[in-house]
Symmetry: C2
Subunit: 338 residues, 2 copies
DNA sequence: CAATAAAATGAAAGCGCTTTCATGCAAAGT
DNA sequence: ACTTTGCATGAAAGCGCTTTCATTTTATTG
């Protein structure tokens, strides 16, 4: 079944040069005479030569691959970030290795180790919360790592992101400015997820500064449309009923789920209830009346993380922390408090 | 910056056995005595040994990685399939390498080659249309390949999917049964995309069998919500206006975009216009009035493709063609012709 | 044109592992 | 007891490439 596959030695022989010259001709064209390079290139093309990545990695001690460990690939924000990373890497001859752990920390350890074993030259992680085994493995591998969607207060780690707390505070402030005083929150699971935790803290603190509390109207759930819908349902079906006029959600999927539930129940948005999201996915703009949300440039985050990794691999220094611009996008789901 | 990393030789020495024994103890525990294996395992744990994937791949001539080449990762159906592939592979100690080409065939060639160079042991491709260079490269690499989301009439290729033509015909028949006679179609770009082509053909043929034609009301566009919306707008803004009562869409994103456009324009769905999708993504069920669509078990496709690849790598035979069950899901966007 | 510097090439040593192949040694058969 | 079988182990040969180092060729200069 396996066809004969030409090795570099075959190319060298066919070109009438030594193995080392052939290697250089293909890898560092500047090191060989133009005519030799041409001979080698011709021979390579003639034989359909395809370099053997593992051999190359073993000899050169770098694999020209970067790993990205994501909570899930089934979320538009990570999908676009991934796309951006892959594109940036490809431009420099690097390949992206992807792994998702479905928000399960033991899986995260496993897949991270798998990537490290595959010899990735660098790593992109999402958020700052990770099992200690992950940190240890990355440390031991001694490869550069970029943390994304988050900042690091200690200033120790390399990260590209934004302050989830401040961002969330900004959204909350928008609702306060509209006169809302009774809030509810749909949050992602906070265990092992610093982004969810920070966003929740942002709401809490902003309200606390006005002497308001939201503690008894917080639902933690999975970050999907369906779960957002179910979470709002749970909130509305409490004996207290709808005792809030503003609903701040941990991401757009939750918010849109909530919006759909309102439409089904005939709750007017924003007339009776204002809803905010987080991320600004495509659907947020498309679904009437348009979701008020915080725009996160996820492709930008991915692109920057990849670019920074490439810089560091090239031996250049980068700022430890890089912030991406975020922006409040006011659309139709927020309005004055009733 | 690089920490010292233990090699297998170090483990062997620390365990007081030879390199070969250490290798066997870790890879084929059945080949060594229980106490030796234990010694080696202890030593490995003590030194924090992490196998070197490239070296292993070079020596054993397999990398324990599988590659998947996707049109895009920014589509729920591919996201869930990817997740399923990764999960299935992980259970057997394999890792997934992902590459997306954004529906650009030159990119497809590049990324496929990159994957092959990285030494993947098997490949998952989407659809049956690929640039000849891709087929050639896969052929030459001599690795097993699974084609997904499609069937192969020649019976030559290994594939797991369904007949896009029949599936599309089924949806069209549903609309015919409801009394619709004037159709429009929102299709994905058909160039280099057999799935889009087959789906379109399915509509055409089913209508032709009833003496109907749709040729002058077909829009080819990119498979996103936004583009679906724009495409319907283009259709409605023709001088002929809305001269159709049924709109068959190439996938759910297009259909939902069209639905949103209708809601914005005040066109009653399904009162004035019936809309059908394809894929049955989560949102199709959630967005009122619920999209009538064809359910494709995308996670199932991914899981089966991975499992089949593993089977073949283990030297076992699998049926060349594996069909997954598809199902028409009737929801609120289709109704009797006005 | 010889002397020297610079550039291009080749020989060879691994990179860290798997995998034959050979060897030693205990259990089994005669 | 003596060969035979089988199992556990070790020695060593690569896997296909990169990269140092030594050597040859070419360009440069007094």
């Amino acid at each position: 079944m396996h066809k004969f596959s030409a090795r570099l030695a075959d190319v060298a022989q066919s070109a009438g040069v030594s193995l080392s010259t052939a290697s250089r001709a293909l890898a560092e064209p500047g090191l060989v005479r133009a005519d030799t390079r041409e001979k080698v290139e011709k021979a390579a093309a003639r034989l359909g030569y395809m370099p053997h990545g593992a051999a190359r990695a073993l000899a050169s001690r770098r694999s020209r691959t970067i790993g990205a460990v994501l909570p899930t690939v089934d979320n538009p924000i990570f999908a676009s970030a991934t796309q951006a990373i892959a594109r940036e890497l490809a431009a420099s001859g690097y390949t992206l290795l992807l792994a998702a752990y479905d928000y399960a920390s033991d899986t995260e350890v496993t897949v991270t180790r798998a990537l490290l074993q595959r010899g990735v030259d660098g790593l992109v992680l999402v958020g700052g919360d990770h099992p200690p085994e992950v940190f240890r493995a990355v440390e031991q591998a001694g490869i550069p790592c970029e943390f994304t969607w988050t900042l690091d207060s200690s200033g120790y780690r390399h990260c590209v992101g934004f302050s989830n707390r401040l961002a969330s505070a900004r959204v909350t402030q928008h609702l306060l400015d509209l006169g809302h005083r009774r809030f509810a929150v749909l949050s992602g699971h906070t265990a092992g997820n610093d982004r969810a935790r920070e966003r929740l803290a942002g709401v809490r603190e902003t309200l606390a500064a006005r002497g308001l509390s939201v503690d008894e109207r917080i639902v933690e759930t999975t970050l999907t449309l369906r779960h957002g819908r179910a979470a709002l349902r749970a909130l509305l079906d409490r004996p207290e009923g709808r005792d809030f006029t503003a609903l701040a959600c941990g991401n757009d999927l939750l918010a849109l789920g909530a919006l759909l539930e309102c439409q089904e129940r005939g709750i007017r948005v924003p007339g009776e209830l204002s809803i905010t999201g987080f991320d600004d996915i495509e659907l947020a703009a498309e679904l009437p009346p348009g979701l008020t949300t915080l725009h996160i440039p996820s492709a930008n985050i991915g692109q920057r993380a990849a670019a920074r990794l490439l810089e560091r691999l090239a031996g250049r220094e980068v700022e430890r922390e890089e912030q991406v611009p975020i922006e409040l996008i006011v659309r139709g789901t927020t309005g004055p408090a009733p």
